[in-house]
């Protein structure tokens, strides 16, 4: 059975893809960014914080990652990307702001997969 952090990663990747697809659909339909999309982004951030806390285990246990610096880099990036992206579109609810959410969520999906590969 996969470890707890691996199971959380599966959820993170699935949820990140869902957020990215919804954000892209909103952008393609040329709608303003709805509030519920922001809420979904912050829910994803919460999941990432839980994943990061679970990911601290390998750093203090015997089963250290192959490259600790790479692993820590992905861990930090995973929790920083969404707040920075949301800050960059603060006060901007126009069409292109949803596209930024799509890019950030997609990046989170990739980072989560890479994090799992380096764990």
């Amino acid at each position: 059975m996969p470890s707890v952090s691996t199971q959380i990663t599966y959820i993170v990747v699935g949820y990140a893809v869902l957020v990215a697809v919804l954000a892209l659909v909103i952008a393609l339909r040329r709608r303003e960014r709805p509030r519920w999309l922001d809420q979904m982004v912050w829910m994803l951030e919460l999941l990432l914080i839980v994943r990061a806390l679970a990911g601290l285990g390998p750093l203090v246990g015997d089963d250290e990652p192959d490259s600790t610096s790479t692993y820590v880099g992905y861990l930090i990036a995973s929790i920083c990307v969404l707040p920075i992206a949301m800050k960059s579109i603060e006060g901007d609810r126009a069409v292109w702001s949803s596209a930024v959410v799509a890019v950030a969520a997609l990046a989170i999906g990739v980072i989560a997969v890479r994090l799992e590969m380096t764990a």
Partner: protein, 133 residues
């Protein structure tokens, strides 16, 4: 940061992400495995610096100051094409991959598409700037 909306916001997001990705990758590889492929790792760091400058250039261009972006985006495109070609033609220089190896295949070719998308946006931006004068 400019609060005016537009496609430049997406470009800025991509450039920020690639500055982070290329910079972290280059620093980790240069400090932990320098001897394996020094040329490739230095080129990754050059890519990271290019993305950071590209981010600044696009931000300036979005405010109507397009001069720096006109130079920077061409430099970036030349870098991707040169490193991409070298990585195929002179394989011994690249025992390990660089960010722009094989035209950015490791990043889904986004590094090759990004400067082209930037230049297309810039052309439109220049037209808009001229119209508003």
């Amino acid at each position: 940061m400019s609060t005016r909306s537009g496609p430049h916001k997406v470009l800025l997001a991509f450039y920020a992400l690639f500055t982070l990705a290329a910079g972290a990758r280059a620093l980790v590889q240069l400090t932990t495995q320098y001897d394996e492929a020094p040329v490739a790792y230095w080129l990754s760091l050059a890519a990271a610096v290019t993305y950071a400058l590209g981010w600044y250039a696009i931000r300036e261009a979005s405010a109507g100051r397009t001069g720096f972006a006109s130079v920077m985006l061409w430099i970036e495109l030349a870098g991707v094409l040169t490193v991409g070609t070298l990585s195929i033609a002179v394989e011994r220089w690249f025992p390990d991959a660089s960010v722009w190896s094989d035209y950015g295949i490791g990043y889904g070719f986004v590094p090759a598409v990004l400067p082209i998308a930037g230049l297309l946006w810039l052309r439109r931006q220049k037209q808009d700037t001229r119209t508003n004068l």
